[in-house]
Subunit: 247 residues, 2 copies
């Protein structure tokens, strides 16, 4: 029975899992669970993942959720996955766990909360929350600074000084890619102080093509759509202001 991956590519951990499968030629069926249509809240999906979140996988009778747990499981359970993704060496594995554990309450929390409160929330009709966004931005900044100065220390191009990418590179780069949906000036300003982070994102992209662009393509389509929405609202704002000034 083919591995099933329940995912919405608008979700960063989903993209990491899909990218991993494609890079390692793991045969899988991608089952789209549309978050905007709230399909993750359906009783059918709750049978797959009672936490009602994507990604989730079904491998035969085995069900699993949480993207890091999934990435580790896939790297161990499927033959032919190159060692660098999740090395058999205990110390190297431990360091990858360390980055992945750190990720949740740092880069993940900061980036996700910032994107939701500035962009995705308003796109779903909820008001932006500048106070929550400002708090999240601090965490996002400190996380990027930690990646720059701690996780990218060493001679290799990738996290933990490695010469080839691991599942940690996939998880963290997919998270940072979510910033593509922001206003482009804002995104550039956020990343601009972190030269090593920028180079690492490029290196991870390059080493995972053509799948990287395929899996992340949805973000650029969303970016264009949100940009148009913002411009429309700006125009509407200017029209209203003109109208008021004429009244």
């Amino acid at each position: 029975m083919t591995l099933k991956v329940f995912a919405d590519r608008m979700s960063q951990p989903c993209r990491a899992v899909i990218l991993f499968c494609k890079l390692n030629r793991i045969d899988f069926e991608e089952v789209n669970i549309d978050l905007f249509k709230r399909q993750h809240l359906s009783p059918e999906f709750a049978e797959i993942n009672p936490l009602k979140q994507v990604p989730a996988i079904v491998d035969g009778r085995f069900r699993l959720f949480e993207s890091h747990a999934i990435l580790i499981y896939l790297a161990c359970a499927f033959p032919g996955v190159a060692d660098h993704w999740y090395p058999a060496d205990l110390s190297k594995q431990a360091k990858i766990h360390s980055v992945l554990d750190w990720h949740h309450l740092n880069l993940r929390y900061g980036a996700m909360t910032y994107v939701i409160n500035t962009t995705l929330g308003p796109a779903l009709g909820r008001p932006a929350n500048p106070e929550a966004a400002a708090k999240a931005k601090k965490k996002l900044d400190s996380s990027l600074s930690t990646i720059e100065s701690v996780w990218l220390k060493g001679s290799g191009k990738f996290l933990l000084g490695s010469y080839q990418p691991s599942i940690a590179d996939l998880s963290l780069v997919c998270e940072i890619m979510q910033l593509e949906v922001l206003d482009e000036k804002d995104r550039a300003t956020i990343l601009s102080p972190y030269k090593k982070v920028q180079q690492w994102i490029e290196d991870t992209k390059t080493s995972t093509q053509p799948h990287f662009d395929d899996v992340n393509g949805i973000l650029f389509r969303a970016k264009a759509k949100f940009q148009k929405q913002r411009e429309n609202e700006k125009t509407k704002g200017i029209s209203n202001a003109t109208l008021h000034s004429k009244m």
Copy 2:
């Protein structure tokens, strides 16, 4: 060279690591890093963990931080650790990773943020933050509800329906134990709807004695101290009110 564990027992992930070492008779030296005295911010400790957080370990030339990564490493690197703590079986391992990954942005975030904004912050001279505490309480409640209905589903006494505890039980129970420093009525109210959670805490305590009480003893001393502080402030408040009413 003996394993060194850099820790402050007031920190819940530190307690999980120390408890694991004691339960598995791992020979280790506990190096106290006093968080209240800000010893984790010293340049010496930054050499051990550049993220300036506890717990951290040094095993020979190998340095590691993040408690879940440490627990997995210890379970694999030290001989004689019983299989149930971190099973060799891939599916069981994956499920444990799933609980541990979930933990960070749910129980950990909720419990830690609630305790800091109601109790530990004020104990350190910072004002309580009722708004942040209320938000954290929601996350704490939903996390306890998930433990009750999802992670404790199954026939065994422990997480994932297991008959013996794993590193996930240690991590999550040590987090919930942090609630001991709250006002006792508040703590009881938070836990009261979750009967299975309460029983699971008791079962985890029982199965890890006498080390559980030894490692968590610091919390009960802190609880008594914070309770006294609260009573003093209350008395001061009443005296002030009496003084004002007489003016």
